[in-house]
Symmetry: D2
Subunit: 349 residues, 4 copies
Amino acid sequence: MTASPATAVDTPVEVRDTMRAAVLSKPGEIRIEQRPTPTPGPDEVLVEVAAVGVCGSDVHYYEHGRIGDFVVESPLVLGHEVSGRIVSVGAQVPRERIGQRVALEPGRSCRRCDQCVAGRYNLCRFMQFYGTPPVDGALADYVLAPSDLAFEIPASMTQETAALLEPLSVGIWACEKAGVTAGSSVLIAGAGPIGLVNVQVARALGATRIVVTDINRERLEVAAGLGATRTVLAGQQPGGPEFDCFIDCSGAAPAIDAGVRAVRPAGTVVLVGMGADVLTVPFGVVQQKELKLTGTFRYAHTWPTAIAMAEAGYVDLDALITSRFSLADTEKALQATSQPGQIKAVIVP
Amino acid sequence: MTASPATAVDTPVEVRDTMRAAVLSKPGEIRIEQRPTPTPGPDEVLVEVAAVGVCGSDVHYYEHGRIGDFVVESPLVLGHEVSGRIVSVGAQVPRERIGQRVALEPGRSCRRCDQCVAGRYNLCRFMQFYGTPPVDGALADYVLAPSDLAFEIPASMTQETAALLEPLSVGIWACEKAGVTAGSSVLIAGAGPIGLVNVQVARALGATRIVVTDINRERLEVAAGLGATRTVLAGQQPGGPEFDCFIDCSGAAPAIDAGVRAVRPAGTVVLVGMGADVLTVPFGVVQQKELKLTGTFRYAHTWPTAIAMAEAGYVDLDALITSRFSLADTEKALQATSQPGQIKAVIVP
Amino acid sequence: MTASPATAVDTPVEVRDTMRAAVLSKPGEIRIEQRPTPTPGPDEVLVEVAAVGVCGSDVHYYEHGRIGDFVVESPLVLGHEVSGRIVSVGAQVPRERIGQRVALEPGRSCRRCDQCVAGRYNLCRFMQFYGTPPVDGALADYVLAPSDLAFEIPASMTQETAALLEPLSVGIWACEKAGVTAGSSVLIAGAGPIGLVNVQVARALGATRIVVTDINRERLEVAAGLGATRTVLAGQQPGGPEFDCFIDCSGAAPAIDAGVRAVRPAGTVVLVGMGADVLTVPFGVVQQKELKLTGTFRYAHTWPTAIAMAEAGYVDLDALITSRFSLADTEKALQATSQPGQIKAVIVP
Amino acid sequence: MTASPATAVDTPVEVRDTMRAAVLSKPGEIRIEQRPTPTPGPDEVLVEVAAVGVCGSDVHYYEHGRIGDFVVESPLVLGHEVSGRIVSVGAQVPRERIGQRVALEPGRSCRRCDQCVAGRYNLCRFMQFYGTPPVDGALADYVLAPSDLAFEIPASMTQETAALLEPLSVGIWACEKAGVTAGSSVLIAGAGPIGLVNVQVARALGATRIVVTDINRERLEVAAGLGATRTVLAGQQPGGPEFDCFIDCSGAAPAIDAGVRAVRPAGTVVLVGMGADVLTVPFGVVQQKELKLTGTFRYAHTWPTAIAMAEAGYVDLDALITSRFSLADTEKALQATSQPGQIKAVIVP
């Protein structure tokens, strides 16, 4: 019933010939389909999926069928926050890795273009990224990954935590761009999952003042519990001195305008939230204060750091999980995020 | 007739008790007034003004009486691109400096605020800057300066060149922020005086591709003569590969939008031109390419570099001068800049 | 009995006309002398000393009368880790500051030289530093300080903790130079007071692997209690993968040699410990790995960060204190550091 | 007589089945051997070698059979400064490239290790580098290269110039590490080929003071002709103010000691010359001035810059060539470098 080379190792691993996949057939419709289980290429591993976090971009594709220039033109498997267990390996991968519990980095870069060679593989010109059209994601029983993007996780780490290393990576990348360090004063707009990991990463990096704004009081309470030193309802003044940096995780124009104005001279603005294509910025403020403004697009080199931070207890990823679903209930999971009190749903195939 | 301590040195310098000053009495009106010659404080020098370049900001104050939040509310002496000769010194300044030919850095910072102590004195919270309300500038026979902002110039440098070390500083600062280096590919919008110094500084820093855009064909020809490898009429495509950086010296929204879109992933955008307070930016591009966007506000630590570059012949500041005026003709000088074919006017008291 | 302006405020502060000072009259001899209490200059404050930490450099001056080029040629008051209370202020300082509890930054820079203007005031060419010949330190009842080097401390912070913000600053500066950040792997040689603050700062900055070496098992135990993830007796191999950075707080040639060899390609080496003037370095390793090696000399801009970190509980400075002495017992305090089990002595006038 | 796919293009290129190679059979002995011409792998190109510069490391292997840990244990083809013409391509390479004139980057990195992925491929843990044991170099009629390491050169560039883009890359890399920029003051020890390219690159980057030291007056004259603003016999004082950076291209301990001492606070020291494995450094100076010291190991990302700089005329590589040899005379070329008046020999197969 299985042709996997895994039968050769001490703890044989069974790999089924077919697998279920949650397929976005059209906007607003997820179908559970049977598909052939893929076979790893020479440098690939086949991973039995254990947990998949639901990201706002998954929900956006589900609802609208597109994000900016990325359009879902044929059936697509979503899901890019993934953990699991290696059940089969390609010819160039040590067979000892079979059975290993892993977190997956979801972007497969070309390793050849100018951006890859420069060490900025997140900006790869030929990136293939789970659940971004036309590349299938991980909402399935199995998924393939290049061997070096499957990072072994410690025995003490749960699979759910491991799946959430992806949003943690977003926070690590943003805080690094923002230059957060010991004694930093940080303003964060948006207390959704990405805002909340930024709060925790900023805290772990030694920030001593972390102010969070959101329109949702409930989420602000969560932020306070995870390390925010002050929370402020969107539209109200954060008060106090200027901030060293402002990290936008809201994508909301008024929040960005207010945030830019709240930063000290030579401070930093990092735009994480995917908002409108075009944005109105207080240009005079950027010039007169010589602010440094940038955006983040995914992340690079973050998984080892993310694993070490979660393992050390510097961040609490489980605190973000507010609901769990089976693969069969993927559609419910995609609808859950907009419910009151929800932060992060996890699908456990 | 003079009480100057200069009488004590070998080459006595005569300092008149009164001086002429070109005063902006109201928008559109310059009056030549007699004022008492000021006396240097302990750490100051009195400089007999030899040359003053006319800057776009001088013209803007002359025409509109304000720039953004800076409003001319009482009579103001303009002029901040200044060179001259030290004719008198305060008690703490070596008397040997009397007679020295100097270029003046026009901004007097507090040396105490957080920005000054951090080495970013251009962002000083208490800056006093020549010709910026309510601080008088240098369009007069004499002007005071802190001793360390009066930089000795080489014997081979003319006073006119020395006055233009100020716009050169703007270019040095912008190219430094842009990260221009050997082999850089640079897009510059605007071929006015600031655009043209940026062309020259980029060339001096080893840039090998320098594309300049402007609406004015005549200015583009000057840019080509000063080192641009290609010139393009505004609105047309620059063509070729992406740029490492984009330096805006136009303040024009369409130029900024086009420039931001022309930069390579992880490239740099520097906004030098003072344009609108609020600006619409292609936000999605900044995020997906992780562009680094910043603005410049004046400059810091640039005079020694500017002097050395001009002395080495790496830049040709005299090429920018298209007309010369006496102090009595200050008003004509302020009106000259808008004439066809004009780039930079210099006033020689 | 007092001419202090403090008599004018609501909570009058009494300032005695004379004060005790612990004077290093010659190597190995401390005398308690009576001296006139100094009067603050216009921008100075007079601080009643509450706590002074004993630093290894104090001990070195006491024992040898010199550190490198700095020679004690006339009687000198030691002590530069200082906290206290403002009891009198100069004319330019708000009288409201009288009564304020403060930590003192011990170095008075010139604010004028190239290094100061560049923001590197720790490298000031005319630095006056407490307890460094010929400048008197703070082992006295009162000490003068520039108003902006007297940092208000929170009500919850003890004066002893406040005095130890100085060694904390050394650690902040070293870890910043080393580039310690989330997920960093850090090797620290030396578990004296400076090594121990580096352990804590590295931990607060998100380092997840912190290996400490020392010749003293007892100190290694303290290091383990303060955040080291592993401790190793000097001379033994730290094991495991290469380190992102190596921070030397030992000044010991073998430790430095081993540390340099243990760093990953493009990693960082920071030399904090003041050791020999000349050092033999594995040059080939520095080249083939393109290591970045630097040293630290005091610190700059660290007090606000240090206060915030201590207040947030990110570091435990009190854990370093192993003995307390009165001002009269200064000599005993200087002799205490070499006792077994001693880490840091504090003198409480 | 040829099986090359080149027969298919319009301008057929003949590739001989066998080729000559200059083989280092043992220290001090070069033999010209016939070898089969290699066949390009899928992503490789076969290059007919046009010019090979002789590097000091080639001479060192020829004379001593080793450099540090790299030992010549079997016959080795030297040569890593290479230009030529593509005569055959692998299956994945566009056939249009056949006939292209190219400069070759000599190091084939793994593209997979931590250093490669981080953008530091020069520090690749599995680097294969022309002429470094056990990898054969380019002193032959033909050589293979990965397609993306064969950079097309402009029609106006000679093959000899193209070969010397390799030492130019060494200079670009060193000056970048040193932070040379407009107005920099640079001290360079050693006026051999590497010192001389550093002079030219520093000049091209806008340095305004470039002082060169060497023991050889003749070489100093060449340095003066290529942009040094002052030359100094080794052992004599360079005079003048402190330098922003010191670039060692001598590997000589006294030069390094003197150079480190001549740098300003917070300045930079870059060690390019491969000297002793262990070096004595003025440690106290590094600490008290917080100098930043690093070494360079090859280069990364420099070929496009090098081509653009040479094409723009910012550097004159031909000025370095003092002798030319045929492949048959490789041994004479290796012996030529130590002759008086010689700087760089080029072998033209």
